[in-house]
Amino acid sequence: MDQRTTIVTTEPGGVPQGLRDFAGDWAADQEVFRRVHWGKAMMWIFLLSDTFIFSSFLVSYMTMRSSVTAPWPNTAEVFGLNVFGVSVPLLLIAIMTFVLISSSGTMAMAVNFGYRGNRKATARLMVATALFGATFVSMQAFEWSKLILTEGVRPWYNPMGAAQFGASFFMITGFHGLHVSIGVIMLLIVASKVWRGHYDRKGDYSAVEIAGLYWHFVDLVWVFIFAFFYLW
C-alpha cells in the first residue's frame, strides 16, 4: 500500500540505517501519520500543549510547597471524611478517583463499539462516561464546600497554616474540574450525534475516539494531581 522510498546510504559510519529509515518515514510526503484523522492528530498536539499547562501548574505548586515557611496542613486529615464518627482518611478522594478511572473504562468501551459501528452501545457508554464525569465534578463541589464552609479554607487564607495550600488547591483542582466539565459537555454533544446516526452517515466514528483521547488525558492528569495533592 504505502510506497515509501528507502534512502540507502553506502557511506561507512554516520547515522545508522534504522534511524535513517525512521527519519525517512517521518519525512515522507503528504502525511507524517499515515491515514490518521486530522482531528486526531490535532487533538494529540493540543494535549501535548495542555500537558505543559498542567506541568507548569504542578511544578509551581511543588516549588511553592517546598519553599513556604508556614506549616502545610496534614492532607490525610484535611481530606478525610467522618463516617459514623470514624474518621476515614482520603475516603472521598478515593471514591472520586475510582469514579473517574471507571469513566475511562466506559470511554474505552465506547470507542471500541464505535469502530464496530454499534451506534446504540456507543451512545449509551458515552452517556455513562459523561455521568461518571458529572458525578466527579459534583463530588469535587462537595469537597470544595466542605473545605470552605467547615474547615474555613480560603484562596487567601488557611487556618491550618500556609495560605498557598488553599490558593493552589482551588486553582489547580478548579482548572482540572473545568477540563472535566468541558469534557462532559463534549461527550454529550458527540453522544447525541452518535445516537442520531450522524457518524453512520459519514461512515467515520473518529469523533468518538478524539473525544475519548481528551477524556483519557483529563483522567491521567487527575492521577498526578491526586498524587501531588493528596498523597504528598
Binding site: 486530522w38 498536539i45 505543559f52
Partner: protein
C-alpha cells in the same frame, strides 16, 4: 475521512461579502486580517516608542509625558511589539498565508478553528487597548510584568491595568493555540503529493518549528497570567511575599517573585525564537531567490532551526542572572546559552555562503535580507556579552540590554518582515509596489536603525540605566549622554516618519500599482505557481500540484531557465534528471 487533501467539498464557499471578507475561513483572508490588525496595533506601539524617545531626548519638554505615563509606554510598547505585533504577524499573518500555499494544500486543516483564532486574537487586542481607558490606566510594570511591583500600589495600572493585560494575554494564548494547532497539523498531515518534509521551503520550516515552540512555551505564560490575576483579584500569595507597600504591610504572605520570573522566562526565551525562527526561514528564502542560488546547506539549515528551537527551552534563566537565584544556575544557563550560538552561527555562515558567488539581484526584498544579516550579527555579538554571567551583571538593566535586544529581536525580524512583504506583495495583491519609495524606505530604516540602537550600546556601557524617566544630575553620567540621547531621538523621529513611505506605498500600489507578473522574482517554490494571482479560495484550481523537487533549483546547469519550479516533472523541457 477528512484526510483527502484533494477533496474540494470540505471548503466552505461563502457567497456574501461578509462571508468572504469578514467571517472568512479562507487562510489567505485570515492571514490578511491577522496582518492588518497586528500592523495597526504595531503603529500604536511605534507611536509609544517615539513618545518615550521624546522624553529621553528632551526631558521635561513634553508635559503630557509624566513619569507614570513613561512607564506605561515602556510596558505597552514592549508587550505589543513582542506578542501582538511580531508573534501575530509572523505566525498568524505569514504562517497563515504561506503554509498552505507552500506545502500545496487548499487551506488549513480546520478552517473554522483558524477563523476563531483570528477573532480571539482581535478580542485580546481589544481587551489590551481597553486598559488604556480604565481608571489608573494600563499597567506600567515593564513588559515583563514582574510581581510584586505590577500588582502593588504605586505602580501605574496596579488596580485594573495589570488584570486587563493578563486577561488579554490569556485570550491571546487561546487564539494562538487554535492557530498553532492548525499550522502544525497542516504541515504534518496536509502536504501535497511529493512534498516531503525535506522539500519544504525554509520559511515553512521556521514557521512550523516556531508554532510547535509556541504551543509548548505559551502554557507557562498562561499559568503565570492566571496566578497573577488570582494574586491581584483573589488576594492569593503565589508571587507576592509580605512586603511594605505605600507604608502599609500587604495582605500577601509567603509568595515567590522568582517563581513568576521562571514561568515568565520559560515562555519568554522561547518567545524570542518564536519570533526569530520564522524570520530565519523567510530570510533564507529571500536570499536564495534573489541570489539565484540554492540555499547553502539546506539540511543543516533545517536541523539548525530544530536544534535552536529545542535548545531555547533550556536557556531561560539567562534573563535572571541578577534576580537572586542560585548562582550555580548561572553557570548552567550561561553554558547552554553559548551553545545556541553554534547552530545560529551555522545559519549565518550558510546565508553568507548562499550569497557567495551568487547572481545577486539587489532588489528591495534582497536589500532587507542583507540588512537583516548585519543587524542580526551585531545583535548576536552583543548577546555574547550578556550571556556570560560576570559580564552581564554590570550591564544588566542598562541601555546596553535595550540596544542588544532591539537589534537582535526587534530590528532584525522587522527588517525580514518588510523584506517579506515586498517579496510576496505581488502575489498577495497582484500588483507591484513603487521601487523608488521602497528603496527610500529601506535606506532610511536600515541606517536609521543603526543610528538609534548603536549609540544605546555605548551609553549602556557608560552605565545609563534603562526604564528611567529622567536621568537627572548623576556623577557617573557625562553630559555627552544627553547629546547622544537627543541624537537618538532625532534619528528615531526620521525612521518613524520614513515608515509612512512604506504605508503609503503599500496602500497606493494596492489601488494604482502596475499589474504584477505572477512570478516576478522567478521563485521555484509552490506559492509562485498558483493558477491565479492573487490565489483564489482553494488555491490550486481543480487539481493539487504534484511536487518533484526541492524548493531551491536555481541556476541549475543545463536548464532552460534559471529556476525550475517545484511542480515541474523531471524530464520536462529544460530540467535535468531528478535529484
Amino acid at each position: 475521512m477528512a484526510t483527502i487533501a484533494d477533496d474540494l467539498r470540505p471548503l466552505h464557499h461563502p457567497k456574501s461579502w461578509i462571508g468572504k471578507y469578514v467571517w472568512s475561513q479562507d487562510h489567505k483572508v485570515i492571514a490578511l486580517q491577522y496582518a492588518g490588525t497586528a500592523i495597526s496595533v504595531g503603529i500604536i506601539a511605534l507611536v509609544l516608542s517615539f513618545m518615550m524617545r521624546l522624553q529621553l531626548g528632551f526631558p521635561g519638554r513634553f508635559h503630557f509625558i509624566q513619569p507614570e505615563n513613561y512607564l506605561q509606554f515602556v510596558t505597552l510598547h514592549g508587550m505589543i511589539m513582542v506578542v501582538y505585533l511580531l508573534t501575530a504577524l509572523l505566525l498568524g499573518g505569514f504562517g497563515n498565508y504561506l503554509i498552505p500555499l507552500m506545502v500545496g494544500a487548499r487551506d488549513m486543516v480546520f478552517p473554522f478553528v483558524n477563523m476563531l483564532s483570528y477573532w480571539f486574537y482581535l478580542l485580546s487586542v481589544i481587551v489590551l487597548l481597553s486598559s488604556i481607558f480604565v481608571p489608573g490606566g494600563p499597567t506600567g510594570g515593564g513588559w515583563t510584568l514582574y510581581p510584586p511591583q505590577t500588582i502593588t500600589g504605586g505602580t501605574p495600572g496596579s488596580n485594573w491595568g495589570i488584570i486587563l493585560m493578563m486577561v488579554s494575554l490569556a485570550i491571546f494564548i487561546a487564539a494562538f493555540t487554535m492557530g498553532g494547532l492548525n499550522y502544525v497539523t497542516t504541515v504534518l498531515q496536509a502536504r501535497t503529493k511529493g512534498m516531503t518534509l525535506m522539500r519544504m521551503p525554509c520559511s515553512v520550516w521556521g514557521i512550523f518549528v516556531a508554532s510547535i515552540m509556541g504551543l509548548l512555551a505559551f502554557p507557562a505564560l498562561f499559568v503565570a497570567a492566571v496566578m497573577t490575576i488570582l494574586d491581584a483579584v483573589a488576594g492569593t500569595s503565589f508571587f507576592v511575599p509580605q512586603i511594605v507597600s505605600m507604608g502599609k504591610l500587604t495582605q500577601h504572605v509567603g509568595g515567590s517573585p522568582i517563581l513568576y520570573q521562571h514561568l515568565f522566562w520559560f515562555f519568554g526565551h522561547p518567545e524570542v525564537y518564536i519570533v526569530a525562527l520564522p524570520a530565519f526561514g523567510i530570510v533564507s528564502d529571500l536570499i536564495s531567490v534573489h541570489a539565484r542560488k540554492n540555499i547553502f546547506g539546506y539540511r543543516m539549515m533545517v536541523w539548525a532551526i530544530i536544534i535552536i528551537g529545542a535548545l531555547s527551552f533550556f536557556v531561560w534563566a539567562h534573563h535572571m542572572y541578577v534576580s537572586g537565584m542560585n548562582p550555580y544556575f548561572g553557570f548552567f544557563f550561561a553554558t547552554s546559552t553559548l551553545i545556541i550560538a553554534i547552530p545560529t552561527a551555522i545559519k549565518v555562515y550558510n546565508w553568507l555562503l548562499t550569497l557567495w558567488r551568487g547572481d545577486i539581484h539587489l532588489r528591495v526584498p534582497m536589500l532587507f535580507a542583507i540588512a537583516f544579516l548585519f543587524t542580526f550579527i551585531h545583535g548576536g555579538l552583543s548577546g555574547l556579552f550578556l550571556g556570560n554571567v560576570s559580564v552581564d551583571v554590570p550591564l544588566s538593566d542598562t541601555f546596553f540590554v535595550v540596544g542588544h535586544f532591539h537589534m537582535v529581536m526587534g530590528v532584525s525580524p522587522i527588517l525580514v518582515i518588510f523584506g517579506a512583504i515586498y517579496h510576496w506583495y505581488p502575489k498577495i495583491t497582484g500588483r507591484m509596489w513603487n521601487e523608488t519609495l521602497a528603496r527610500a524606505h529601506f535606506w532610511v530604516t536600515f541606517l536609521g536603525a543603526y543610528a538609534i540602537f548603536m549609540p544605546m550600546h555605548y551609553i549602556g556601557i557608560l552605565g545609563v540605566p534603562r526604564r528611567y524617566y529622567a536621568l537627572g544630575e548623576t556623577a557617573f553620567i557625562p553630559p555627552s549622554v544627553h547629546y547622544v540621547n537627543m541624537g537618538i531621538t532625532i534619528a528615531a523621529g526620521i525612521v518613524f516618519a520614513a515608515q509612512f513611505l512604506f504605508f503609503y506605498n503599500m496602500i497606493w500600489s494596492y489601488f494604482r500599482g502596475p499589474k504584477a507578473d505572477p512570478n516576478p522574482w522567478g521563485g521555484a517554490s509552490l506559492e509562485w505557481q498558483t493558477p491565479d494571482t492573487p490565489p483564489t479560495h482553494g488555491n490550486w484550481g481543480p487539481r493539487l500540484p504534484t511536487v518533484y523537487r526541492w524548493a531551491y533549483d536555481y541556476s541549475v546547469p543545463g536548464a532552460a531557465h534559471d529556476f525550475i519550479p517545484q511542480n515541474e516533472p523531471p524530464g520536462a523541457a529544460g530540467s535535468r534528471a531528478p535529484a
